[in-house]
Symmetry: C2
Subunit: 335 residues, 2 copies
């Protein structure tokens, strides 16, 4: 069993993009509006998945993708709370339909209706709807709904606590995932994503968040940003601050995915992070779509790197599926 | 010969900090003022270095440190242009005195008087003074003088070009180095530093900066932020954009230091980045000061990792000193 814990619906039917363009251009003109939700047929959903995600699952021999709306498309910085709310409902409903059409292949994770300056508590109704009514098993949480300006409170601020309480109650983890950047400094997939991962980890390290929420769970995607590469730095910083070892401080609550697109990166990840904290993922179809001329395989075919790594079979099985069942508490009931 | 290309005067005499406290508190009260520059004796400088940087050089068997003012102390976001100008002069003069007292042990790199919203061209007089009058061999360039809000233009913007022209004319490279963060999202040494490195690299990747300045040289510290760990991602992103291979695109102009504080991180760096693009560094006395309980040695004793790495002797010599002579064109004349 191979579970890919990080897939976005990047290939959604064009009607979704058209709907979003209407939303965005209305907001750009200073008047955010509510538009009729897009009409998309089951066949359009099937076609958008059969030729992409499902084909790739078959080709690469993976079984289930934990599937959420396109991350760069969340665009929480655009428009107001109502814009984000409508957009989240539309995107989450589409994920739900994909999961209903292919229940063996997809498990749903929701986009939250975050909006700059709006309390995360306001996301609770949509989270509850997705988990209780649509059977979703997690959410994506944007640590910077201001789109690259980082103006709302950090993740350890009490601002976030009501949402965390609900996550714990529902037994759903969050993947920390920024969206697009409207700050010209930050290329989305090349800088903002990776910075978001690194930033979140350091916010966890310097806070008592997991004392307050001992069972709260976060997945840091893109192999944990810069964190495993600088694991010595983080161990040293924690030690200089008089904190316990990182394993004790964070690793009951923080997990890393395997979206690292070359063998040496994966080898490093597996070397420094305990196997029980690593979840297989590829973010396919995602940020990097080409074939690596050095290997002849797709950069994002991360299964090849895991298969090629020096790793005991029990650890490999944990990374491929065991840890996902542990982190996504609702996955087992669903299966 | 072992050259440490990344050392800050983090142990400067207390009179320097007192001066800065005066500056900062005046600015905090809304009235930035000019204060009498601090009076520091040669003996105070000697004492601050003998017991720290020089002792560590001796203990670790390194020869020369490329030495600049404390990075987190630059604080370009504090006060106005005159605040930054005075502060840069004071800090740079102190570096100059350290270099004069220990010409065998230190080569100077300057802090620039950057200030939010102020054109980088305004830094040229201080850069020229440091290089021409004080014999400095490079500068530290803060890609975010707004202290964690990233509000000024990115590094490929023409905003920066006059400064780059001067750097090329003077034959001095810049180390890309953010300073402190006043954004509560970003821990300085654990997030802002590493994000700054990653961000700068991606700005270089997506721009034609090095077409415009073929001989401009940047050192990205902290082992290049997240970049080597995600080297496959960056190779793939560049390829998807139709850009040439990274080696051709960037590696005539962009170099990485070795401030990565554990063996697996250094091993990865050496595996994916060509040896001619790596410069030895430790950032001692710096961000991480403790002893790694896993090795019994200081986290920042990076010489041990380089010595322990699988590496040909010619490559090791390049990393220890050859590349520094190539990147810092003025180093050889100085020696």
């Amino acid at each position: 069993m191979i579970i890919d814990c990080h897939g976005h619906y990047t290939t959604a039917p064009e009607a979704l993009n058209e709907y979003r363009r209407l939303q965005v251009s209305a907001c750009e003109c200073g008047k955010c509006e509510i538009f009729p939700r897009p009409v998309i047929s089951d066949d359009q959903i099937r076609e958008s998945l059969e030729t992409k995600q499902l084909r790739i699952q078959r080709e690469r021999g993976t079984d289930l993708t934990i599937f959420s709306p396109r991350a760069v498309g969340m665009g929480h910085h655009i428009g107001d709370e109502r814009t984000s709310s409508e957009w989240a409902i539309v995107c989450n409903d589409l994920i739900h339909r994909a999961c209903q059409l292919y229940p063996e292949n997809f498990a749903g994770v929701c986009q939250l209706p975050q909006s700059p300056g709006v309390e995360p508590a306001r996301c609770i109704p949509e989270l509850e709807r997705c988990v209780k009514e649509l059977g979703f098993i997690g959410c994506n949480l944007n640590p910077d709904p201001t789109g690259g300006y980082w103006k709302d409170p950090p993740l350890h601020d009490k601002w976030w606590y009501p949402l965390y309480e609900k996550m714990v109650e529902l037994d759903v983890p969050a993947m920390i995932h920024v969206s697009g950047s409207c700050n010209p400094h930050f290329h989305a997939t090349g800088a903002h994503y990776i910075n978001g991962d690194t930033t979140a980890f350091m916010q966890f390290l310097t806070s008592s968040l997991f004392k307050d929420f001992p069972t709260l769970k976060f997945i840091i995607p893109h192999g944990g940003g810069a964190v495993p590469y600088h694991w010595g730095r983080y161990r040293g910083l924690a030690q200089d601050m008089g904190l316990p070892p990182l394993k004790e401080l964070l690793l009951q609550n923080v997990f890393f995915d395997t979206c690292v697109y070359h063998q040496p990166g994966i080898d490093l990840l597996l070397k420094v992070i305990p196997p029980e904290n690593i979840l297989f993922a590829s973010e396919t179809v995602g940020a990097v779509r080409g074939v690596d001329p050095e290997t002849g395989h797709h950069f994002d075919d991360t299964r090849r790197y895991i298969d090629a790594a020096v790793l005991g079979e029990a650890d490999r099985a944990s990374i491929y599926s065991g840890n996902a069942y542990r982190v996504y508490g609702r996955l087992k009931n669903r299966a």
